[in-house]
Amino acid sequence: MTRRVAIIGAAASPNGKLQTPQDAPLQTLEHEILAPLVIEAMAVAGVPKEEVGALVFAMCRPYTLQKYFATFMANYLRLPLKGSIMEVLGNGMTGGMAFDQAINAVALGHADVALALGINMESQAASAEHAMSTMRATGDVDFHTIFGFTPIAWYAMDAVRYMHDFGATRAQLASVAVKNRRHACLNPIAQFRKPLSLEEVLSARPIVEPLGLFEVPPRGDGAVCLVVCAEEVAKARGTPYALVRGRGFFHDGTHQLSDVPNDMIAFSAAHRAATAAYGAAGIGPGDLDLAELYAPCTIVEVLASEALGLTPRGRGAAEAQAGETSLGGRIPICTSGGCLSRGHPAYVTGLLTIYELWEQLTHRAGERQVANARLGAGSCELGNYNAALIHILEAVA
């Protein structure tokens, strides 16, 4: 049994520093942040809590003390479940996979209503110490980590190759950060809402050359809850919803680096996942009104926009600089402000992606609303887009 699935409610915390220092007399607790979001999202959805049949959590960071967080939350919320409950992990795809599994729970008939939710707390871990953990997530621990590669170092190498292959300039790449900050200024849940100039981006201290401070993700925390349901449940409510129109996935069978030389910056997994998602939705990239891309660095947004067919190959950075991917442009990308300015609480970023599409497609996005937004794409990835998960959503009024 499969059936069509819709999003009917959502809520998200502001992104930023939510976590408290270990020695603070008063602590912020994950469940005390997430539970009110569940209640708020369900109030927007307008269905009683008894209808919820499945909970799919993005796994918490290791800094979260409470283990078995999913069943702990089911108890905290007093939610018996007939479908399923789980915590999922897929590195950068974690949030997207949580959404995907919630869709499955509904599509397969295990639940009529499912929540995809999570909280990512990490901001109190010092960057150099946090990197001691994340460096073990990319490449081979015994053959790559030994050199001190960090996740964003791989993206920096993409940037170097992209500039070499296509003659893209630093200013073109940096313009992505300026554009995303402009978007974030209009987003109440964004971590950074102060305008940022091209000069500030270009003169920022180097983090992984050529990328400086404003072209790599900020450290931060965030929490989000999405309510998904069978389309008949959504229809019965009589208020706008977002319909899942297509889904595409591809993993290229490599982990970070292919030992068979390939075009590393083609992001072929994203291209294949997008092709599958467009095919399932019966659309092409030109039909999209907006795209919310998983893009921890400026270069990643450029390469993903090309792989998804939103900008021509080799022209992604130039088109960003020309305003084609800005609000009001041909295809607005990362209207939330993206990872760079909305924030990148990594394990829930994929959920925040869908949250922004929900806001846009149900015309809740206020000053950053894309006029008449009807079709949106959201992507998330696994290390250099070796794998990509893409969803196409449609506004139904």
């Binding site: 150099a128 053959f143 030994i146 050199f147 190498m157 983090i207 992984v208 680096l257 030992d259 390939n262």
Partner: protein, 142 residues
């Protein structure tokens, strides 16, 4: 022929684990040879070395020596390093396509341009070796 050696007066910041299978790789590197495995049935190389061939899942592999010569595909300089690497920061790391058709990531010495011909060198740390690349025929050190 041995790869050039460069002595480093410290221990490796984050040494690799060595298994019974990977020990020949690290032992050979210590002696100045960059090795990997080739599947007997597929005839294809892989890196890092593996006790089977990932291309056809053949279970018979042989150790072969790599030339260490290749071209620089891309690189970066990491300023924000993990804690263990702060003593070596900033770090230049990159990706090299070896003549044998194998792509490999490693430390880069000097400031070679992309597509530059590079050669493998052995960094002889006090506790064991790591491999690195530098522009062919230069004397760049860590």
């Amino acid at each position: 022929m041995s790869l050039p050696f460069i002595d480093v007066a410290s221990a490796r910041p984050w040494p690799p684990r060595i298994s019974a299978f990977t020990k020949p790789f690290w032992d050979a590197l210590r002696e100045g040879r960059l090795m990997t495995t080739r599947g007997r049935t597929s005839g294809r190389l892989t890196f890092p070395p593996k006790p089977f061939c990932p291309h056809d899942w053949g279970r018979e592999v042989e150790w072969v020596e790599l030339s260490g010569r290749g071209k620089l595909y891309t690189q970066t300089v990491i300023h924000a390093t993990p804690a263990a690497f702060i003593g070596e920061a900033p770090i230049r790391n990159g990706i090299v396509d070896l003549e044998e058709g194998v792509r490999i990531a490693a430390r880069i010495l000097g400031e070679p341009a992309l597509e530059c011909r590079v050669e493998c060198v052995v960094l002889r740390y006090t506790d064991g070796p790591l491999f690195a690349f530098r522009a062919a025929g230069t004397a760049h050190r860590l």
